[in-house]
Every structure is written in structure tokens, then in C-alpha cells.
Subunit: 652 residues, 2 copies
């Protein structure tokens, strides 16, 4: 049998944006609005009304905002204001505006010269039906209108009364929605604070900042580095793991299998007799010292990002207290982490699908919440792709439900679909393949994929120009120009980017030819540096970060558009603020060795420039400016002088 | 708290094909296989197994076929055999092959020269676990293997035994799937019989086939036309409504408001005192005469498509028996159908959302089933877009559940998204905008959209070159060449196409300039024709239909590929059978007035031709053939001689 309840009168099709059929949330930033569109279809010619409904996840009451019919046939769109970080549910509803449908037909019949006696009686009935369910204050007014429509006044007068705008707005709220239909699924948008989109990251090892040469630095001593980082213009400091470091099978300098006395070990071998993921390496200080460091950073306008690495040294308390959380060999010993032929002897892997995995997952949440409650709101997650994807899909929303300002960065150097799925499951930001995209062609292709595909809805890149694990050969062989080029590209292609300490000194010696590892890697030893050594990039970095701070266009991401220099080594791209008042044009010579010249052909439509436009391009890196004319202009970039222009386009 | 059951160990993402997140079925033809792909992702390096699961809708047991890892990273694909018309559900499951994972690690460790004593013990344990749940016949074998692995034989021997293929296949079935995960949604494919994809339609009014000039023809008389239609090569006959025709406000010739005595009326004004949608117009004969006609057609290899138009003349029995199914005016009279300023005085519209719409919908299903049970299996639905979309989404699957060989063709000349939604909701075929796409550019753009977008999954066009409502000005002004051009295009661009009676005589006089209606339209009067009148296209049509019958490539749809003549009036496209053995190349001069020449540049990759290829092009329309060389060849098409080549590409 036909069941009445099963059939929507209005078909709401393909609500957008939508990710994985609503399985995953799209991402936005607080203060933005989410534009929601839907195809809304009904038979015949009824006048439809549509609204987007939304509510903070967990609320029972929907709010709503009216949708408007867009220029695309059958497409409607509406907007949701995203006022706070958190998760917001949304869906779409639509119904027939019977009054407007009737009024439109009346108008057409009158225009065709028809007698509309019957129609006016019908209209009067609509008004009477509405009156029956209306507020007591409105009811008399509606009843009066009904009398007027069905009354004895001349027909043109009654038609005029029926079509008055007051009548329309009165009936819009008074009548009951006819054929009310709702989209059969609830979608989700995850709203982050602005730092999830725009941030300048600096990674450093506090232990390398002792006041005495050669000794192990402490949080207290590392505080002295904070003003310098602030002066460079960074606003996020990412600390490699600060937890106690294992002693069993500790790695020595340059990843040696045996550590010498005094070798500090890799901070990713977490846990010893002083504690595990919720303790601080005593060599760095106490937990109170960490709190003090956090406060000192905050005073400088710097936010701390902690590392969250789900792995243990063999000395981690879990090994003793929860042997059931580890994989064991038939002889009962715990397995080391390995990916044959590679072995990681200083690490044992937690078995994330062990029999009692719920207890393990809860414990890991407790660890994260431990740091969240101390004030940490950014976590850089080490190798999330080697942990269950379902775990992240559970953990991140759990933490953000209580602390929606928490940001998770995924360090997943893995295959594209796995990297993307982590972002869909909740990571606010992702490490990317940026370090391995160095030519103009590679960068244009990669950034087009990131910003023009569905990925733009959920994957925010964090472009690190180097990391303690990645010293790309481009930097190894390109000298200082290479460091400037990769800095400018990272800092202007992506609104979130970072460098790892030593970049400003152009450190570029690999452990051996063909390796991306640093010689004397700071992962295994303390490296004190003279940050004002000759040849440093401090002033260049400060300048780039200042340009990012002062130009809203550089704080956005999907506004990236490529232009067309006639030289394959030169790339050009622009970013404009939404209102178009701030327009940046970056031109980069991707060849760190040779001077390159190009005529840069601009996409005039993107920048609001025409063949006859005259404007100034003001280089924010050098302060120079030129008057340009039209959409094709000449540039010459000597990498040993300035490999890039960061132009602000200004009215003359 | 973490609930174990919530978390899949393997993430199955984005199973394809998928339409509207599984809300709608994709379409295929019996005998085809459905290729299903999915991205399947798990942390780490486990060896995964994946299968596509499928079952006829309504069955409780799944069948399955193994998926294979495709060359795209993390993508798997498998196939479902579609043996019968009907609806088939499918989904994807995946799990870890623990034995294969272990064996792969063993292999790598052995290759790295490691001692694997512990690993072999672990392997033995896997085998023992499997033995514990295995069939009694297999158990001893497994136990023996376990003993062997953990035994005292030299390590290389035990490794060799562990890695034997027999061991792999034994364990594949014996071990229990670890981390079994299923896609969280069930998808649907709707399987039609071949006629839903490939058919040659001929529309005609039986009433115009009286043996005596001027009188109303009967089914018995119209049977005399069947051999002629069969000889033209058609295989579906579409009959305009055959039901009793209303008398109240009956339309006269050329849509006159008043009918003269003897005017037969529009057959779309359905119902009078002789019955409604389940009766036959007595002027055509009895229901037994219809059955006889159906059988006679079948004997000629012709299938009958009936018209299903949900509308009533004011004399329809429903008006008397079910006044509650109609919209009424305040004075109690039933409303005529109208779309101001247009009025359809001979029709009253059923109120498909009336209070008791379930009873009305059930009655309409009964009507369809009435004809289905008499042997009709194709319905051409009149204006489905003016009826509730949800109604079609209910009716069509209801009918096809019992009679899966039923085909519904939607005549929805409406906006694209509404037309598409009707197809998604279940229509097997759709009328299209073909008649209004006449230039090469328009046709290429339109066909690319149809065949290369998601529409290819669910929308099958039926390219009618004319209909009783549509005589395009291209035909009005282009003479016989225009009729040949539009015929060849329809018959080769789409595997399903049709013409309405009179096309073969190049009838092209509109009721008035600027109108697409025929003068003396057969909708309102009887039109007897001499089908062998001079200038007829009978032989041309026969030839086109014979080429369609003999060449499997023309019976397919999404195999359409465009090529590049250097003249914008000339279009070229090819179709190849799946195995490439049948290759057709159609070259059409879309200008019915002037001879056009072109060099046709072929996409060699599509046709398996290179710059040095030598081959024969054999024109199936004229029998001529040429030897062509390479991928660029010259054509000259005089529309008054032959406006098109329908080449079969043949080996020399």
C-alpha cells in the first residue's frame, strides 16, 4: 500500500557542499558564512519557498535562513553564519507558498483579460484558512482581508487588494507551509578558529638552547629564543616531543644504533621511568617550567604546538602497566616497531586494535586532554597514517566537542587518498608534498589540484619548507637563493607555512649524498646555533611574514590564481581579498642558479585589469615599485640578488 | 565511552558507481557486467582482501566476487554479472588477510638475512587458530602444517613450506577474516533488457489507417501497416493514446476550440462514457481487437509502446466516480487544466496530491498493470514532469518489481535538472532536446554532456527526429536533405531513436510560420497517407536501420567519440564495439543547403589508427568504399546527393 508519509512533495536534490555523502564535515573558519546550494524541484508551476536549516551540533532547535532562487535553473542558495568554532549541522527544507502561487496565477489570468470571480473566492478561502490558525492579533486582519476579496467591490479593486505586498508578507507567515519537505540527510561543517587557516610556524628543539655551550637546554633557557622568533614574524611554535626519552636502545648521533653517554636520544622515543606522554623530560625542566614557557610564548604572541606521537620507548610506563596494549612475540617479549628491512629498535608500537582497544583509545584521549587543559590547543600528529583511521575520526571530534578551538595537524607523508582521508576524518591541517614540488609545472599542477578540486573543502595544507626529516636536494644544491625561493613560495602559496630552525641559516648539508636527512641531525643531538651568523635570512623572513600579516589576501587559500609568464622557470600567481581591495601578485624565479627573464601575461579578469590599465606594482620585499601598463609586463629575476617579487598591485 | 562495534578497521570510501549517494539506481543492460570500484584504506602495511557483494533486490543472501587492486593507488575494482532484468543491490567488504600479511613480512625478513625463529612460531600459531575453526576434512592438514612450521626442520625448509602457494590458498579460506568491514551503504543498479538501450521507434495513429478513405481506422485495419513498418527496419511501435476520447470541449481540426461533427478529437483527452484509461476507443475496436493487433505486431517482430497520460477529459469515469481526485473551484465545478494564459478546455487535471492521493496512485498503478498483463511492456509517459516526481519514484519500481522487463520513456520537455531527476527516479529512457540541437557545435556539446557526465549512468536518450508536436524549423526549411541528415544523426548518435509517421514523406508544413506544430495535425484529425508517394525516404530509412541492426557498435551509447573535420558544418564521430572489431565512422554535413568539403582529422587513438594506417571505409548508405590512409582524409558531401557517410572501417 502507498504510505502517505513516504513521499516528499518537493524534491530536494544534491545539497552542496557535501563531502562523502555527509559522512565527513566540510571545513570553514569562524566569521565566514557557509553558502549552501541545492537543486529543488517540484512538478508544475508552484511558487516554492526554501530555507537552509542549521544548528550547532547537539542542539535540538534548528535555526533557518531563507534561500534564494539562483540564476541556475532549479538551483537555490542560502547562507549560514559561522560565528564560533565548533560543528554545525545543516540541511534544507522547502515547501509551496500557496498564496504566492495563487497570486501569480491571478496576475496572469487578469493580464489575459479573464474573469477571476472564482479565483478571488478561492483566494478568500486561503486567507480564511490561514486566519483559522493565526495568532489572535493577526486573525481579525486576515478575516477582514478575506471579506474584502470575496466581497462586492468591483473586481479590479479586489484584485488590487489581493496583490498588495502587505498581503503577500502577511500570508507568507500566516499560511501553513504546503507540502513541506526536508532533505533526507543532515550535513556537517566543522568551524575552526582563524589560526587553522592562517599561521606562520617555526619548529625548534628547546634542548638546543642551553646558555652554556654543549649542555642540555631547558624550557627556562629556551624562553630566551622567543623574542627572536616573534621578531621574525612567526605566530606558532612547534616543539618536537617534550616527553621523557627512552634509554633502552637509545639512538646515538646520526641515528647510530648505539648511543654514547650524554647523547640525548630521539625525542620520538617516548617514555622512561620519569613518565610517558603526560610528563616532561626532566632535562627540559618540570611541568611548571613548561607552563611558564607556554605563558612566556603567549606573552610574545606565540602559540605552542605540541607533538602527539603514538609510540613508546621500551621504557614507557605503558609497557609495564599495560602489556596488553602491545603486540608480542610467541616468546612473550614485546615487538619492536619495524617495516622490514627497517627496524626501529628504540620504539615499540602500540597495538591500536588490541583486544581492549577501547581502554587504549580512552587513555590516548586522556593524554591529549591533559595538554589541552594546560592550555595547548595545537597538536602536530606524528605519522597518523600508521594508526587506525577510525581512531582519528573518533578522537578529533571528541576533543573538539569540548575544546572547539583545538587544531590538529597531520604529518602523513603517505599516498594521496590516505592523506586526504585523514583530512576528511577531522585533521584541521595537513603536511603535504610541497617539499617535493619544485618546478613551476609541478607547483602549478599540485596547487591546482589542492585548491580547485573537492580537497579545497576539507584539506588545508601546511607548507613546511624543511623539517628535521626533510632537507630536499633543491635546498642542498641551490644555496641561499633556493632558501629564499622556497620560503616565498611556501609563505604565499599557502596561508599556513613553516620552517624548521636552521632554515634561516641556510643549513643544507645532508648526512650523505642522496639522503634528505641532515648531517648531525638535531633529532639525535643538541645543536646550538648562532642565529645572527653572516648570511642569515632573518631580515628576509621578517619581511615575508610582515607582508603576510599586513595583506589579508595572503591569509586566504582558495583565492590562488595562476598567471602566464612566457618562461617555464618563472611562475606568477595572485591572491586577492574577497572585496578585491587587496591584490598581491607574486612572481618567482624557480631556478636558483640563473637569472631568468619573462614577460608575465596576467589573467586580467582575475585581477580586474585590462589592456589599457595603468597601475603600480609595489614590491613588498624590496620596497621598489614600477608602473605597469596592460596585462603583459617584463620581469628579470636574478636569484643571487632577488629571486622573487611580492608585488602589491596599487592604484596610480 | 568507546564502543567497539562503531569502528571499522578498514575504511571503504567512495564506492562507485553511485548516484545521489545511493538514493537512485545506476542503469545497465542484462548481459553486461557492472564494474564496481572503491577506495579501500587501512593504516600500515596489511595485505587486504576486498569483495563486491551483490544480490537481487529482495534476496537476503549476498553473493560476492573478489576485487583486485587497480593501478590507481588504494583503488580496488570488481565485477557483478547482470544476468537478468531487475534491481540488484551491491556493496563492498574488505578485511585483512593475516596469513598473507605475515608471509609478506616473513619474506622481507628472510631477504634481509634475519633469523625468523620467532616469526615461524607466530605463523604456526596462525595455522593452529585456523585449524580450530576449520572444516573437519581440512583440520588435520592444517594441524600438520602447523607442526611443520614450528618443528625442528632447518629454518630455510620451514620458510619454504610456509611460503608455498598451497599454503596461501589453504589459509585464504581457512582463516577467519580479520577486521572485516563493510561499506555503510547499499547501492542499487537497475538492469533493463536490451530494448531499453537499443531500439528503432515508429510512432503512428492507427485511426489514420482505415481501408475506406476518410473514415476512422480500426486496429484491424491498421494491422495492414505493420509489415511496412517492419520492412523499414523498426522494432518498436509507439501508439498515441488508444483510449476513449472525451466529447465535452473536444478540440477540432488544427486545435480549434470547437469540434465539427466527425472530428475524432485529441486522443490525449482521455475518457468518455465507454471508459477511461483501461478501455479502448470503440472507434478503434474492442479490447480483443487490441490484443489481436498486439499479437500481429509481435508476429512481425514489432513491440507496442502505449501512451500513459495522466489526465482526463471531463467525460472520464473518474470525474463521476472520484470527484475527490480533482481540483475544484469554489462553486464546486472541476477545474480545467491550464497554464495561464493557456487553457486546455478538453482536459481536467487529476490532483495528484489530493487528500486521498494513495487511492489515486494505486488506481493509476492498476491501470498500468492492466496493460502490462495484456502484454504491453513499454510505456511512453506523457508530460511526467507535471506529475509528482515522488509518484514516478514509487510507480516505476513497483511495476518493475513484478515485471522487470517493463520500459518507461519520459516525455519531459522541461528544464534539464527536472528531466534528469525523472531519469534518476526510474525512467528507462528520456525524450531529449535533440530536435533543437542542429549545428555541429550544438550537437557535440549536447552529446558530450549526455555521454561524458554522470548522466551516462542513468539517462538513456530516445532521439525522436520529429513528433506530432515538434516539426523543427530545420525540417521546415531544409527539404529532403534535412530529413536525411536528422535521421542519420538520430539513428547513429543514439542507439534508441524514432520518427513519427509522415517523416518518411518529408512532411514539413507548419500550422503557421514560427510554429513547430504541423498543419492539419494528426492530433486532431485523421490523416491517411500514401507511404509510397514519390520522394519518400523508405529505402534510406531501411538502409539506416539495417546498418544499426548489423553493426553492434551502433547499438551502444557511451562509446560515442567525436573527431575533427576542419569545417564547422561537417561533423564526424565514431562508435566501436567493446572488442574493437566493429568500428563505424559517421561523417555528416549538417548544412542541408550547400555542399561542404572537409579534411576529417581522426583521433587515431580512439580508432586504433595511426599516421601510416591503410584501411577501407565502406559507406553503408551507398555501398561505395574508399581506401583511406593515415588519420586525415578528404570528404565532400552534397546534401542533395548524399549528406552523410556511414562508414564501416575495414581492414584492407
Amino acid at each position: 500500500m502507498v504510505e502517505k508519509a513516504e513521499f516528499p512533495q518537493v524534491q530536494i536534490v544534491d545539497v552542496r557542499p557535501q563531502l562523502g555523502c555527509g559522512r565527513y564535515a566540510v571545513k570553514r573558519i569562524e566569521g565566514e558564512t557557509l553558502r549552501v546550494t541545492a537543486d529543488i524541484i517540484k512538478e508544475g508551476h508552484d511558487t516554492l519557498v526554501a530555507e537552509v536549516r542549521y544548528r550547532p551540533q547537539g542542539d535540538s532547535e534548528w535555526r533557518s535562513s531563507r534561500m534564494t532562487y539562483s540564476y541556475n535553473q532549479d538551483e537555490w542558495s542560502g547562507e549560514i553564519p559561522l560565528t564560533d568554532p565548533g560543528s554545525v549541522e545543516y540541511t534544507v527544507a522547502s515547501w509551496v507558498d500557496s498564496w504566492a502561487t495563487w497570486a501569480e496565477e491571478l496576475r496572469r489570468k487578469v493580464a489575459a483579460g479573464r474573469d477571476v470571480t472564482s479565483e478571488l473566492l478561492e483566494g478568500a478561502q486561503f486567507v480564511r484558512d490561514a486566519a483559522a490558525h493565526a495568532d489572535p492579533q493577526v486573525r481579525p486582519l486576515l478575516e477582514e482581508h478575506a471579506e474584502q476579496l470575496s466581497g462586492s467591490a468591483p473586481q479590479p479593486e479586489r484584485v488590487h487588494a489581493a496583490l498588495l505586498p502587505e498581503m503577500k508578507s502577511l500570508m507568507e507567515t500566516a499560511q501553513r507551509p504546503e507540502g513541506l519537505s526536508t532533505y533526507d540527510s543532515t550535513l556537517l561543517v566543522s568551524v575552526d578558529r582563524e589560526r587553522a587557516r592562517f599561521g606562520s610556524w617555526y619548529e625548534f628543539f628547546p634542548r638546543s638552547h642551553a646558555s652554556a655551550p654543549g649542555s642540555h637546554g631547558t624550557f627556562r633557557e629556551a624562553e630566551s629564543r622567543l623574542p627572536g622568533i616573534r621578531e621574525l614574524g612567526f605566530n606558532v611554535i612547534y616543539l618536537p616531543p617534550i616527553y621523557p626519552i627512552g634509554k633502552t636502545n637509545r639512538k646515538g648521533r646520526n641515528n647510530a644504533l648505539v648511543a654514547h653517554p650524554g647523547d640525548p636520544g630521539s625525542p620520538w622515543a617516548i617514555g622512561n621511568e620519569h613518565g610517558g606522554h603526560d610528563a616532561v623530560n626532566p632535562e627540559l625542566g618540570t611541568i611548571e617550567d613548561f607552563d611558564h614557557f607556554l605563558a612566556a610564548a603567549k606573552a610574545e604572541g606565540l602559540e605552542i604546538a605540541l607533538d602527539f606521537a603514538i609510540q613508546c620507548s621500551p621504557d614507557h610506563p605503558y609497557v609495564r602497566e599495560h602489556p596488553e596494549w602491545f603486540r608480542r612475540r610467541p616468546d612473550g617479549t614485546i615487538k619492536y616497531a619495524e617495516n622490514p628491512p627497517k627496524r626501529y629498535e628504540d620504539i615499540v608500537a602500540l597495538d591500536m586494535w588490541c583486544e581492549d582497544y577501547p581502554a587504549l583509545w580512552e587513555e590516548l584521549r586522556r593524554v591529549v586532554m591533559f595538554w589541552v587543559k594546560r592550555g595547548v590547543r595545537i597538536f602536530r600528529v606524528d605519522n597518523p597514517h600508521t594508526k587506525p583511521l577510525a581512531f582519528w575520526g573518533w578522537l578529533i571530534p571528541e576533543v573538539r566537542r569540548e575544546y572547539p578551538d583545538t587544531i590538529f595537524l597531520a604529518e602523513a607523508f603517505t599516498r594521496p587518498k590516505k592523506l586526504q582521508l585523514l583530512a576528511k576524518l577531522g585533521f584541521s591541517q595537513s603536511y603535504t608534498y610541497y617539499t617535493w614540488r619544485n618546478s613551476r609545472h609541478e607547483l602549478e599542477e599540485y596547487l591546482t589540484d589542492l585548491t580547485r578540486s573537492e580537497q579545497a573543502e576539507y584539506l588545508r595544507p601546511n607548507f613546511f619548507a624543511n623539517t628535521p626529516d626533510i632537507l630536499h636536494e633543491y635546498l642542498q644544491h641551490g644555496g641561499k637563493p633556493a632558501f629564499k625561493i622556497r620560503l616565498v613560495l611556501a609563505a604565499t602559496l599557502s596561508p599556513t607555512y613553516g620552517i624548521y630552525s636552521g632554515y634561516e641559516l641556510c643549513e643544507n648539508t645532508p648526512v650523505r649524498p642522496g639522503s634528505e636527512e641532515y648531517l648531525d641531525s638535531e633529532k639525535y643531538q643538541i645543536r646550538q646555533r648562532d642565529f645572527s651568523a653572516p648570511g642569515n635570512l632573518n631580515e628576509y623572513i621578517r619581511c615575508v611574514n610582515e607582508a603576510r600579516r599586513a595583506n589579508p589576501a595572503l591569509q586566504l587559500y582558495t583565492n590562488l590564481r595562476f598567471h602566464y609568464p612566457d618562461n617555464p622557470s618563472v611562475m606568477a600567481y595572485s591572491k586577492s581579498s574577497e572585496d578585491g581591495s587587496n591584490r598581491l601578485l607574486v612572481v618567482v624565479n624557480t631556478d636558483p642558479h640563473h637569472t631568468q627573464e619573462a614577460t608575465v601575461h596576467l589573467d586580467g579578469g582575475v585581477l580586474g585589469l585590462g589592456h589599457n590599465s595603468r597601475y603600480r606594482v609595489h614590491d613588498l620585499l624590496t620596497g621598489s615599485s614600477w608602473e605597469w601598463h596592460g596585462i603583459s609586463n617584463y620581469v628579470r629575476l636574478d636569484p643571487h640578488y632577488e629571486p622573487a617579487h611580492m608585488f602589491r598591485i596599487e592604484e596610480l
